[in-house]
């Protein structure tokens, strides 16, 4: 323990804490920009400066550890002036078009400007001018709005270990961009959107599909159907100031109906369907000597990563389409036929926590007869904006239920949204398929939680199934090395590109509350616990679907509609 004084308050801090953390522990807030929790400080932006007795200059509190007897002042005329000057300089080199900016009212630069009372333009000069990168299907980069805090760069390099963007050039011309300032679509970027989540401004944002969706909803010929991913219901409430981890499923369904969707289905239905296909595929691979370990295929960010970086392991990836693509494919085949609707008139919109899924829905092989399985993807954030435009008062909506049959789901599907969930759901069903009996204890604690790699061995009948869960694409390297050089002991490996899984996807509400992931995850586990059925193979609608249409999992028809293929894209992206 270290004792110090901050603004006259005696503080007991732990050894190794920074001044910033110590101040926070007693309710003193210090602004930060370049600082990112859990990563080493860079001390680049200096907005967090404080006065420390005995020091001549101001000290960046995010980078300075506490020492015994230290006397700190976090708020003084000198500190205020320094911070205000930094903010003013940033603002004067910024487009200042807040009125038409997608981050209006959710921007750290705006907040700082307000906090330090910037009321006049004192440093008018040349402002930077850069083109917007709209090359990718998922994201936009607007370097003119970039304040060079470096948070995206650090997340991309140090957390995701992709390194698609970096600082280039220097001084006034300095810009965070891709190599050769070419578009994101030809870079190493997997479009996970983790950088969007940390960007303080609108320099990084999703590519919006609201317009297309609005047009489709206005088109009388179109039969618009929405489907909602598991992770969205546990996060969307945050945009309406509800407590973290509020489950808003009922409101969400009503809201989507009011937007004009003819049907509102649940991607969780397709998650159950995915489990039926994936578990069967795994068992087949184990029994018939197929490529093992088998990787999950629900995360398009992960798929994009493998195709660009490790095409050697492509045949280890389950051929199952991701759940929302399955849902779309079933809607345009089985459902269209059942309801007598021309599949060409069906317009499927996926509400997703994910930016990559926009890119995924554009993949040519995820279509039938030149009709994409999914027509458009809206992120959680876009849906909120759409609700606002349509005058839908989310807080006051009555609750309602998903439509059927593609709205029924089990608890196993709900946990798809969190790291380890797909594995857990698959095990519940694989156990039944192999042994013919049901698992007693459904929760697999070993593969829950935020560890980067989670491993376990599960006894199924007389088979010891070795599993691993990769939580965040940054942790996948060693696992891939093992698979590539044949030393992997695993049978089944789940990979999710985003740390924490889709619940922390790049399309989720943006704010820096530290508790967000844990609380959202809790909400999903609660949905699972309270569910009437908790194993995918108990989903009555899925059972009916097989009886009426597919026959059995991995049947010829199932392969045609629910499975896909992958391509070696290293050649295109490297050299």
């Amino acid at each position: 323990m270290v004792q110090l004084t901050i603004n006259g308050i005696k503080v007991n801090a732990e050894e190794g804490m920074t001044v910033l953390e110590a101040a926070k522990s007693v309710g003193i807030s210090i602004p930060t920009l370049c600082h990112l929790k859990n990563l080493d400080p860079t001390g680049a932006c200096r907005i967090c400066v404080v006065e420390i007795e005995g020091f001549k200059g101001l000290t960046p509190s995010c980078a300075y550890p506490v020492t015994e007897g230290m006397v700190v002042t976090t708020d003084s005329p000198r500190v205020r002036k320094a911070r205000k000057t930094i903010v003013e300089l940033l603002i004067e080199n910024h487009p200042q078009d807040c009125l038409i900016c997608v981050r209006n009212k959710n921007c750290e630069l705006q907040d700082l400007s307000e906090q330090y009372g910037v009321r006049e333009h004192r440093y008018v000069g040349e402002t930077k001018c850069h083109a917007i990168d709209i090359s990718s299907a998922s994201m936009e980069r607007d370097p003119a709005k970039c304040i060079l805090c470096g948070r995206c760069v650090r997340v991309c390099h140090e957390v995701q270990k992709i390194g698609a963007i970096d600082f280039t050039k220097r001084g006034f011309t300095s810009i965070v961009t891709t190599p050769y300032n070419k578009g994101l679509n030809v870079s190493d970027c997997i479009l996970c959107g983790q950088c969007i989540l940390v960007c303080p401004t609108a320099a990084l944002r999703e590519k919006s599909s609201i317009k297309e969706v609005a047009n489709a909803l206005y088109d009388r010929k179109k039969y618009c159907i929405a489907q909602v991913a598991p992770a969205v219901r546990a996060s969307l409430g945050e945009e309406y100031n509800m407590p973290l981890g509020t489950d808003v499923t009922g409101l969400l369904v009503t809201g989507l109906r009011r937007l004009g969707f003819k049907k509102v289905f649940d991607t969780n239905f397709a998650a159950d369907l995915t489990i039926m296909e994936e578990a069967t595929e795994l068992i087949n691979r184990i029994q018939n000597g197929g490529s093992l370990p088998m990787f999950t295929s629900c995360c398009p960010g992960w798929i994009k990563y493998v195709e660009m970086n490790r095409p050697e392991v492509l045949d280890h990836i389950s051929t199952c389409k991701s759940p929302h693509e399955m849902e779309g494919a079933v809607l345009k085949s089985y459902y269209a036929k059942k309801m007598g609707i021309d599949p060409a008139d069906i317009y499927v919109v996926s509400i997703m926590p994910c930016t990559v899924k926009k890119y995924e829905s554009n993949r040519a092989e995820l279509s039938a007869d030149a009709m994409p399985d999914v027509d458009a993807v809206l992120t959680t954030r876009e849906l909120v904006r759409f609700f606002k435009t349509a005058g839908i008062d989310f807080n006051d909506l009555p609750e309602s239920e998903f439509d059927n049959p593609l709205g029924e789901s089990t608890g196993a599907a709900a946990i798809f949204g969190t790291s380890g969930g797909v594995m857990e759901a698959a095990l519940r069903t694989a156990y039944f398929k192999i042994t013919g009996t049901e698992l007693e204890h459904l929760e697999f604690e070993e593969i829950r939680g935020m560890a980067g790699i989670k491993e376990a061995t599960v006894k199924i009948g007389d088979l010891d199934v070795s599993i691993a869960v990769v939580n965040g694409i940054g942790n996948v390297g060693p696992i891939l090395d093992e698979v590539q050089n044949g030393t992997s002991k695993h049978h089944f490996i789940e990979v999710m590109a985003c740390p924490g899984g889709c619940i922390n996807g790049g399309g989720q509400p943006i704010h820096q509350k530290p508790e967000k992931v844990a609380k959202r995850v809790k909400a999903l586990y609660k949905i699972d616990e309270n569910a009437k059925t908790r194993r995918s193979h108990e989903n009555e609608s899925v059972i009916t679907l097989y009886r009426e249409f597919f026959g059995e999992p991995n049947s010829h028809k199932a392969h045609e509609i629910l499975h896909t293929e992958y391509f070696d894209k290293r050649k295109i992206f490297k050299n």
């Binding site: 390099h157 992709i162 390194g163 698609a164 963007i165 970096d166 600082f167 280039t168 050039k169 220097r170 891709t178 190599p179 050769y180 870079s187 190493d188 490297k574 050299n575």
Partner: protein, 159 residues
């Protein structure tokens, strides 16, 4: 052509990045994209970082040099003697901006700080020749002189 340079370095060693960039530049006179990609693979540093480093330091060039390099001094003494006009005139005449090379690869235009010839400001340096006390009117004449120089004589500059 540059594969040999890797022989003197350990793979996966980040500290080899800058020396490798220098070696490549010594071979080509600039840093070609495919060499940057090879370096990125060799030191296991993302291409974005390699590119970032290459654009951060003034010593590295990402485009090939022209046959003749014109360096316009923008130091204090030359500034006082209107070197901004000289630069502007050169940019107009060549149709490029500082840092670029003409399409016919004849000229590369660069801006430098004081080159120690303040007494004859404003100064431009073409290859190794100093041209002092020049005015905007002198520029076409100077350019013409180098336009006609045969390739072999400028080969030295290219290395």
């Amino acid at each position: 052509m540059h594969s040999k340079i890797f022989e003197s370095y350990q793979p996966n060693d980040r500290s080899a990045l800058i020396p490798l960039l220098q070696d490549v530049q010594n071979i080509y006179g600039y840093l070609p994209e495919n060499a940057l990609r090879d370096i990125s693979d060799f030191v296991k540093v993302p291409l974005s970082r390699v590119y970032g480093v290459a654009t951060f330091y003034n010593q590295f060039r990402l485009t090939p040099l022209g046959e003749n390099i014109i360096r316009v001094c923008r130091g204090t003494a030359c500034h006082v003697k209107n070197s901004a006009n000289i630069l502007f005139a050169l940019e107009t005449e060549l149709g490029i901006t500082a840092g670029q090379t003409t399409r016919d690869k004849k000229f590369t235009l660069e801006v430098v700080n004081c080159i120690g010839a303040c007494s004859i400001a404003p100064v431009i340096l073409v290859n190794d020749d100093y041209h002092g006390r020049i005015t905007v009117k002198d520029i076409p004449k100077i350019l013409k002189k180098y336009q006609t120089v045969k390739k072999t004589e400028t080969a030295e500059v290219m290395k």
